[in-house]
């Protein structure tokens, strides 16, 4: 009986003990970013003798997962990466620790001002269209062109009543004075709503209806031109693009803190950022590095102010009234 109890205990405890033993030479990244396998492979092939592991956690479960693991003393992450507001909340809860990487030396001051959180990219949003089905003369040149009735029932976008990044993007357009004043912005929002866009739950599913021709144009991300190639996607050349920033930080109780620092140094390096731009189409903050998408090196890309959750819920309710009429 005693042997059975020992055996059972061993079976239950073994996975935990093994994972602790194996953690020493592994660096665990918690993130939700598309197609970063080439960057992880490049890190693993480097000189650091560390193995990078990518734990992908969707944005809606990110905070719940990290805080639950942290409060139970089971956080496996060495490095955490996500939208800036999430990392700011994690910093307030003591999940992150300060680390300044020398690899970020050329980054803009606003991206490296914090002692703990480093911003390295912008999740830029743009009107994306099907270049086989939309004639060149019909391609929007300004955001306001999206309100033209010719796009009625031909648009797709994430639900502006619930999708946090889309809500932030709409408010970003207002605060960046893209339409001059608030009245101009409201005219755009109401015009967009009048065209009855089809809603999807996030940016992920937004390019599929455009590439299949179910819809002709949508509010989506230019990076899909790279990740979904050879799908006939292109972006409308508006003069300013906006997006929320991507950020990363070292975990306060990282199982492998030195490995975590090595990973952050690598990730912020020009070599990794070039891979991120080339393979994933991301807009990165390393000077002179741009995704291989025609025109992106010339367009102005600006970060959106980070809205609090209260603001996002308030504006979500307002957009629900406008878009769900």
């Amino acid at each position: 009986m005693k042997k059975m109890v020992v055996l059972l205990l061993g079976l239950i405890l073994l996975p935990g003990l093994l994972s602790t033993a194996l953690a020493a030479d592994k660096v665990n990244l918690y993130a939700n970013i598309t197609a970063i396998e080439p960057i992880m492979a490049d890190f693993n092939a480097g000189q650091s003798a560390q193995e990078g592991i990518y734990t992908r956690i969707s944005t809606s479960k990110y905070l719940a997962t990290v805080l639950t693991e942290f409060s139970a003393g089971k956080l496996q992450a060495d490095v955490l990466q996500g939208p800036l507001p999430i990392l700011q909340m994690l910093k307030e809860k003591g999940v992150l620790t300060p680390y300044k990487s020398s690899s970020a030396s050329g980054y803009p001051d606003w991206a490296t001002g914090d002692d703990t959180i480093i911003q390295f990219g912008i999740e830029y949003v743009a009107p994306i269209y099907n270049k086989e089905l939309v004639k060149p003369e019909d391609v929007p040149k300004t955001y306001m062109d999206l309100t033209d009735p010719k796009w009625y029932d031909k648009l797709v976008m994430p639900d502006p009543a619930s999708h946090a990044t889309t809500i932030s993007w709409l408010i970003g357009l207002k605060e960046a004075k893209i339409f001059g004043d608030d009245a101009g912005w409201m005219k755009f929002v109401k015009g967009l709503a009048a065209n009855k866009p089809m809603f999807v739950k996030s940016f992920g599913p937004s390019p599929a209806p455009i590439e299949s021709g179910e819809k002709l144009i949508g509010i989506s991300m230019p990076k899909y031109i790279i990740t979904k190639a050879p799908a006939p996607l292109d972006w409308a050349r508006v003069d300013t693009l906006l997006g929320t920033t991507r950020a990363m930080a070292l975990a306060a109780k990282a199982p492998n803190p030195n490995g975590g620092k090595a990973f952050i140094d690598y990730w912020l390096s020009a070599q990794a950022m070039q891979l991120l731009a080339d393979k994933v189409g991301e807009y990165v903050l390393t000077p002179g590095v741009f995704p291989p998408i025609d025109g992106v090196d010339k367009v102005k890309v600006i970060p959106i102010r980070q809205l609090s959750d209260e603001e996002i819920r308030h504006w979500g309710d307002e957009f629900q009234k406008i878009f769900y009429q």
């Binding site: 479960k61 693991e69 089971k74 599913p205 209806p209 819920r313």
Partner: protein
């Protein structure tokens, strides 16, 4: 058969432990001010959840969606189960497999496939209809409540089929013959004899489909959201996704209404099937299920069943194969066919994480379904044959995790497992799967148990058979159709399980559905479809294996009349 109070108590402890732990964590979370399960007490989440002005509309949509899906799935299952088990329809074995194909397909993929077929802009079937009848109006807009019911009903068809078919195959045709001898017409016999005897199975099927569609997220998000139709699960999603700090406590507070509805349904079911003796068709007086000869109706019915199976089930799978061969989604055209290649398949088969996911899912499917079925046999026995207050409690406990919307229950399990050494292991997934999907084993086994008279086990006991001998030699052989159904339901579910896996899976314990979700989030529909078809192939092999073994060991041999 066994020491009944001891067995009931033991099972209440086991099932209660499995299902109560995550639900208690969610309850704590719903009263906690923080984002984790233990925090300062508050009732604000309940106030916020149930004073939402949209809530009444969402409840109405939810009732129409769930009841509609249950009616669709149950009626279709009744028809298919009848022709597959009671008639001499040719090629029945193929139709039996086709009836359960939807459960092998990841729901997100099946929904996306129907969008490609029936979206009002350029859906393949709509375009065909428009060009045939020279009209500008689409035949059917999938982005509607009707569309949601169509797809959810088809996805839940296998659940209904696998509950109704065993009961149908165990149906004693002499009951119908007696009715006809007494002068009743075919219709009167159907409504006064056949359907009432099958009532437990029909109700079990309808209730399980209602509960499952309450928790469903794929159809409401892929089809409902673009049509601006929100039901409970997408309402919960909208609440947790508005803001970066997703509040699962609030989601749990909303989800409790689904739990309340499920428990009420279980008690209604128990009330309606209270006199279980009325539904017994296998007793010691001899039992001979018979086949009805269709004669002239054989081939017309074959055509009807063939067309139904093709349009409703096979066509979406063909669409998946078509997408898997393309570099990106596009409607069929000469250009599309010229771009076809095996690249997506090669990418999937070369991807080490996809291969690891395949291995892990296969392990969880086979081992989990086997353990789950064994537990379900004992639980069903207590629920059906003992029928005390304690057995009612056991039945309600078995539904606890199952009744919570999927996007919430996974977090409940995470809040629980993170306090154990099992967090992040395959064992945690195995326990979570069995705890959540126990009703998939219990429902078909209960329907089968209900039809077996207790005189059979009493005879064995009188002749000196021990409880386990009686179980092994008398009860289990008669239960084989139910056991096979339960095992198939569980194994297929475990192979494509997403809601728990997406929260509990970690590097090294990836499973197929999580890999499929990654492809979906990255918009890689070609690879997604290729992996989905591999999943269907593996599930089909498991189903065929289970069916062949079931047939070998079954004591119920249908005889040709």
């Amino acid at each position: 058969m066994f020491k009944k109070p001891t067995l009931t108590t033991t099972l209440i402890i086991i099932v209660g432990f499995l299902t109560l732990c995550p639900v208690i964590m969610l309850l704590l979370g719903s009263f906690s001010k923080d984002f984790v399960s233990f925090g300062q007490f508050t009732t604000s989440k309940y106030v916020s959840a149930y004073t939402d002005p949209d809530f009444a509309d969402i409840l109405l949509n939810t009732v129409i969606f769930t009841v509609g899906s249950a009616l669709h799935a149950t009626l279709l299952a009744l028809f298919l189960a009848y022709v597959n088990t009671r008639t001499d329809l040719p090629f029945k074995f193929i139709f039996k497999i086709i009836s359960i194909i939807p459960m092998m397909i990841p729901h997100i993929l099946f929904s996306a496939s129907w969008v490609l077929l029936l979206n009002p802009s350029n859906g393949i079937l709509n375009r065909l209809f428009m060009s045939l009848f020279e009209t500008r109006d689409a035949l059917f807009n999938v982005y509607s409540l009707k569309g949601m019911i169509l797809v959810e009903g088809l996805l839940d068809l296998p659940i209904a089929y696998l509950i109704i078919a065993p009961a149908m195959s165990a149906f004693d045709v002499s009951l119908e013959e007696s009715s006809k001898v007494c002068g009743a017409s075919n219709w009167r016999t159907l409504f006064k004899v056949t359907l009432p005897v099958l009532r437990p199975a029909i109700l079990a099927s309808a209730i399980l489909v209602i509960v499952r569609s309450l928790a469903s997220f794929a159809v409401p998000s892929v089809i409902g959201m673009p049509g601006r139709i929100y039901v409970l699960s997408t309402h919960i999603y909208r609440n947790i996704s508005s803001g970066f700090a997703a509040d699962y406590g609030l989601a749990a507070a909303i989800g409790l209404s689904a739990l309340g509805a499920s428990i009420t349904l279980i008690y209604i079911y128990r009330y309606l099937t209270a006199e279980s003796g009325k539904f017994v068709t296998i007793s010691s007086r001899g039992f001979k299920p018979t086949l009805i000869k269709l004669q002239k109706g054989k081939y017309p019915l074959l055509v009807i069943v063939g067309i139904l199976s093709f349009v409703l089930i096979l066509l979406p799978v063909i669409v998946l194969f078509y997408i898997s061969m393309l570099p990106y989604s596009m409607p069929p055209s000469a250009r599309a066919f010229s771009l076809m290649s095996w690249n997506n398949w090669i990418d999937v088969l070369k991807d080490p994480i996809s291969l690891l996911s395949l291995k892990n899912s296969l392990f969880l499917g086979v081992v989990g379904a086997t353990l789950g079925t064994i537990l379900s046999i004992f639980v069903s026995y207590v629920i059906v044959k003992i029928r005390t207050t304690a057995s009612g409690l056991l039945e309600s406990l078995s539904f606890l995790s199952f009744s919570f919307p999927g996007i919430v229950i996974g977090v409940g399990f995470m809040w629980f497992f993170v306090r154990t050494p099992l967090y992040g292991t395959l064992t945690a997934l195995l326990i979570g799967y069995i705890a959540t999907y126990l009703p998939y084993g219990i429902r078909p086994l209960s329907s089968a148990f209900i039809q077996i008279h207790s005189t059979l086990e009493e005879s064995s006991r009188v002749c000196g058979g021990t409880p386990f001998y009686t179980l092994r030699r008398v009860i289990i052989p008669l239960l084989i159709p139910g056991i096979v159904s339960g095992w198939i339901l569980m194994a297929s579910m475990f192979l494509r399980e997403l809601t728990l896996s997406v929260v509990l899976s970690r590097p090294g314990t990836e499973v197929l559905a999580v890999q499929i979700l990654r492809f979906a989030e990255d918009g890689l529909w070609g690879r997604l479809s290729a992996l989905g078809i591999i999943m269907i192939f593996i599930s089909s092999l498991l189903v065929i294996l289970a069916a062949v073994l079931g047939k070998k060991f079954s004591k119920l041999e249908v005889v040709d009349r």
